[in-house]
Symmetry: C2
């Protein structure tokens, strides 16, 4: 164990923040950490937009389904996959390729890797926060608010601030379910997921004084049905991404 | 600054490794770190496959375009976006939704976030490595080797081991290019990218004794044209992903 492993292992989502603002040098370290992400072929196909404007924050909170921490957190960042910069600057590139599935994956992964580094930097500095996929409820509206050009799509937001809660850690799927040797072998998964389902149910029972008693399998199914986000595909194609 | 920020800021890709194997408990910490990733709606829609089999490693190195570190690194992991588990376990979910763009993004991001945590854990433990997107040269072959079921796709590999080189850090795009306030404003980007292009050219001139003298814009364009990977889209659709 070391200090970094400690940070990595103590992750929990924070949605309540103290009034304390994030110091400029700390925020700078968070963004610098993202800047130093590993990136496919040195492409760096991502852009971070820091939403300071109060009206935009309010609109984003609404888009995200009324998540008030999107409005209230000291810092709210939006991570975008960005091939607009690529189209603008990369020499001798066949522009049709920016619209293919491969480049869509490249940019999506680049942005996610950058976000994870920013988030871990924040956690190491005593900050906490939460990823907000809820902005995908209405990507068109987000794009308009942030004036996103073609070939850029916002993947998720991230709230950051000093934690004013300690919600505890949600149990994770057993290692042997998410980690396999040499091939995808799920023979043991039924038994392990059944155990895990009981663990998650117990966790919710304790945390909510018996109000919630869902297993993981029940909860994920429910969450997915709430968030079908059928418009995501159309928006991404409108932006010229993932067409071929 | 703290120890974690230090780890985050000193990233470099490592492709040459000593003979020393990764201790079991260190590898365990790497996988545990991935297990504790933030994940969309607690979905945990990713699977890590550790390739130990020598023949599979050789085949993967070939698929990746002859990257011999894929064969030779002490550890080689493949990170997969995984909705097969979701389809198998999640209660009352409309199975068509697993094929939509939204769920494709969710699973891709989950896997990338997990990978970044594993990678940072490894770096903090004195290990190094490199992400290998080259496996996307032939996803069909990778899928066959790893016996991947429907709704699972391999995004990238990751080599890990004790570094036997110190390649130095490649300069990153200036902060003001990748980080914007309130909206996507690229008015300053031309000037900043021009400066960066010169910095990258200088970096290659120094590192390769004048053999390479590409700017960032030139190099990215070239890389992209080498890696069109037009088959990725077809493979992903065959797996039942990103259809709608």
């Amino acid at each position: 164990m070391n200090e970094t492993i400690d940070v990595l292992m103590s992750h929990m989502s924070i949605r309540k923040f103290t009034e304390q603002q994030i110091e400029g040098d700390k925020l700078h370290q968070v963004i610098k950490a993202a800047q130093w992400t590993p990136t496919s072929s040195h492409f760096q196909a991502f852009t971070i937009i820091h939403i300071k404007d109060a009206q935009k924050r309010e609109a984003m909170a609404e888009i995200a389904g009324g998540q008030k921490w999107v409005k209230d957190s000291p810092v709210f960042l939006v991570f975008c996959a960005d091939l607009y910069r690529a189209e603008k600057y990369w020499k001798d590139a066949d522009k049709r390729i920016f619209s293919n599935q491969e480049m869509f994956i490249v940019a999506t992964v680049d942005a996610a890797l950058a976000a994870q580094k920013a988030y871990i930097a924040a956690e190491s500095l005593g900050l906490g926060g939460v990823f907000v996929g809820g902005i995908r409820n209405n990507l068109g509206a987000v794009s308009e608010l942030l004036k996103l050009p073609q070939l850029v799509y916002p993947i998720f937001g991230m709230c950051l601030g000093y934690p004013a809660e300690n919600p505890g850690q949600k149990p994770r799927l057993p290692i042997d379910v998410i980690y396999k040797i040499d091939q995808y072998d799920d023979q043991q998964d039924n038994a392990l997921v059944a155990l895990y389902d009981r663990e998650v149910k117990e966790y919710y029972l304790n945390r909510t004084n018996g109000k919630i008693q869902d297993t993981w399998s029940e909860r994920c199914g429910g969450f997915m049905m709430e968030k079908t986000r059928a418009d995501v595909s159309g928006f991404i194609k409108e932006k010229g991404l993932n067409l071929i």
